[in-house]
Amino acid sequence: MAIRPILSALMRNRAGAILVALQIAITLAIIVNAVYLTTQRVTKIGRPSGIDDQNIFAFWVTTYEKDYDYLGMLREDMAMIRQMPDVIDAAPMQQVPLSGSGNSSGYYSLPDKKGEESPANTYATDDHGARALGVTLSAGRDFEPNDVVYKAAATRERFDTASAIISGGLARALFKDEPALGKDFYDDQSHPIRVIGVISHMQGSWLGWDKVDRTLLYTYIEPPSTQYVIRVKPGTIDRVIADVEAAMRKRDPNRVIETPMRKMSDMKRRGYAGDSLMAVTLTTVTGLVLVFSSLGIFGLATFNVNSRTRQIGTRRAVGARKLDIVQYFLAENWLVTSVGVLIGCGLALGAGYWLSTQYQLPRLDLYYLVGGVLGLWALGQLAAWQPALRAAKVSPAMATRNI
């Protein structure tokens, strides 16, 4: 097919063609980067936490009376909650994973701050902690009642645990490929900590943190306040929350119980709020931009067909087949789209570079660009399809008629 007549026809309505090309260029830049960013956010939101996060809730219990029997309270609360219907397990825990609030400390594979170094979110709990979170041990054993250290009164002294259950992420950071079970690692003051169990995967408190999969459970209980973490059978969480709230108040009104109690699924959603908002916005705008671009292409093609009815008739009269006419308009459209796509590649790479400096992300993956180019070509042809078919229906007799 000859390109020259197409070009000279296009030059007669330069402005229209340029506008559509420009629109396609910006569209390509937007969708390629938006899809790239959305994929990353969606992958991030979809990461497993390693915790039974849909069936857990938590709340603060704070005591305030002088010489209050804190350990007695814990014992009785736990005995009561653990035997309630549909409760799988419950445990006191100072901080709660996925909640946005947590502690972290630095750990080392050798004493004197030597060897591999890694920070980790730490969770002080009792021997039911791992089961209350619903995490899976891939090696070693769970805590036993004898492992738990109880303090009857608040101390300002630092507590150094002798044993811990650590996540696979922390194990890999400290011990690389070697099995971590039974080994010692060290805190910043060179106290050894024995790995008694390894959790295959468990996320910590800060979902935006790149080391969120490095976590550690240890067993230590101290007044005056803690959170209770309660895991229930699927589908029963709302009822159990109501039951626990009533039972806690009834058993002992002389402490403050946080209400409304917090579901871990909500904490997780809050933790990913920015990412989900970003993903939703990007997807919406991508969809809208595609719709408007196809309408723009459709509009230009329709205009071109309308304003050239007589010429089309003439071509048909001198022997062009319907197929030739369709091909002509699709080729014209392809040409405009290609110019747009070419400029768009530059824009997309520029925007991608800006985003990569902005987010310290890897540079835009070129597969996305290739996909975007192919997609826009296809979209352009689709949008021009109906006007091209209409053009083919123009009868040769049009050549002799005045419009």
Binding site: L19, T62, V256, R269, M278, G299, I403
Partner: protein, 442 residues
Amino acid sequence: MFAYYLRLALASFRRNPGLTALMIMAIALGISVCMITLTTYRAAAANPAGDHGEILFAASIDSWDPEDSYEDYDKSLGPTMLTYRDARALYASEIPDRKLIMYRSGGIYTRADKGMEPQYFRTRMTTRDFFAMFDVPFLFGGPWDNKADDGPEPVVVLSKDANQKAFGGVNSVGRVLHWNNRDFRVIGVLDSWEPMPKYFDVSNGSFEDMEGAYIPFAWGPVLELGSHGNTNCWKTEVINSFQDFLNSECIWFHAWFELRTADKQRAFKEFLDNYVLEQKKHGRFPRPLNNYLYDVGGWLKRNKVVDDDNKAMLVLAFAFLAVCLVNTVGLLLAKFLNAAPTAGVRRALGASRRDIFWQHLTESGVVALAGGIVGGLLGLAGVWALRAWYGRFVDEALRAVPFDSNNFLIIVAIAVGAGILAGLYPAWRIGRAAPASYLKVQ
């Protein structure tokens, strides 16, 4: 003449209702997406301290780890909080017009007469200038005096919300709350006050809820009250008592200084540097000298209150608006050129080029106005939905998004401006077309 152009425009819309609707929707959607992202961005970028914020300064002195900078992403930035020793030392300076040191704690408050359910209130431990420096409005009573800071005297200022919970909202000045096994006398009750972002304590969340109670700073060490907020430590230190903790290199304090003149600002910066140099002689501050005074705007930037996502979404929204406008220009052009023969007839009957230009520009303007109104309404609905859903359930930051009708008017004005801009080229183009060429084929 204008009325006649309007009639022509309406007639033209009736001829191509689909195309007209498409143009209106293009402008409306472009505008509404921009309105939503812009309001979100402006909420995060707001500076609630206003002009006063230009003379309020947060101090940052680099007491951090010699092996590791405070921020990974920019090694030149120092810590955003202070150690107890440094907070005390800076507070002792006589240079500032006003000054405060503070941190966030909390605890359970009760009433001896059991008139309230025991309640946890977030509690700000602060010195008295807090209320004057941050223009905090009082409903009843007022702030405590210097004597209460020094004592410290057992006084408490309650937020409006906390006063509602503790005393049912009545004037509670002189009443007593029990906290940490001591009696505290209510000396003031605040009116509603919720600056967003919460600029004076962004370390504990820029959009966190306000504190329920305010208590003289010096009670912190007396009652051994730890931080109920961010605490960061880098040094290996033996900490076996609250005193050890206060003496440690752990940071959890904020300090603000009101410095009304450039001279005072310079003098205070010098004071910071001299203080750090002096401390270096005692083996502290192992990092190079790196001190800053940030005014409120600078402090919000330093703490990245407007995050990268806000910026990216704003850029995206305007790119989208650009697509919509280019689209509209293209559609207008096609529409005008299709109707060119009519314009040719009008020219032949004596209408000047300028008349044709104004006629078509009027048509673009009407499209833009309609697009602006629809877009503004869509934008309002979008902002409302964002606040109602995300702000309530997902992201507290979005509670700060303002929801007012001024935005609507501004957006409609922008839309009309953009629409007329989009109509300029097509209107000029059609005005230039020679009438003869169109009349011939007729």
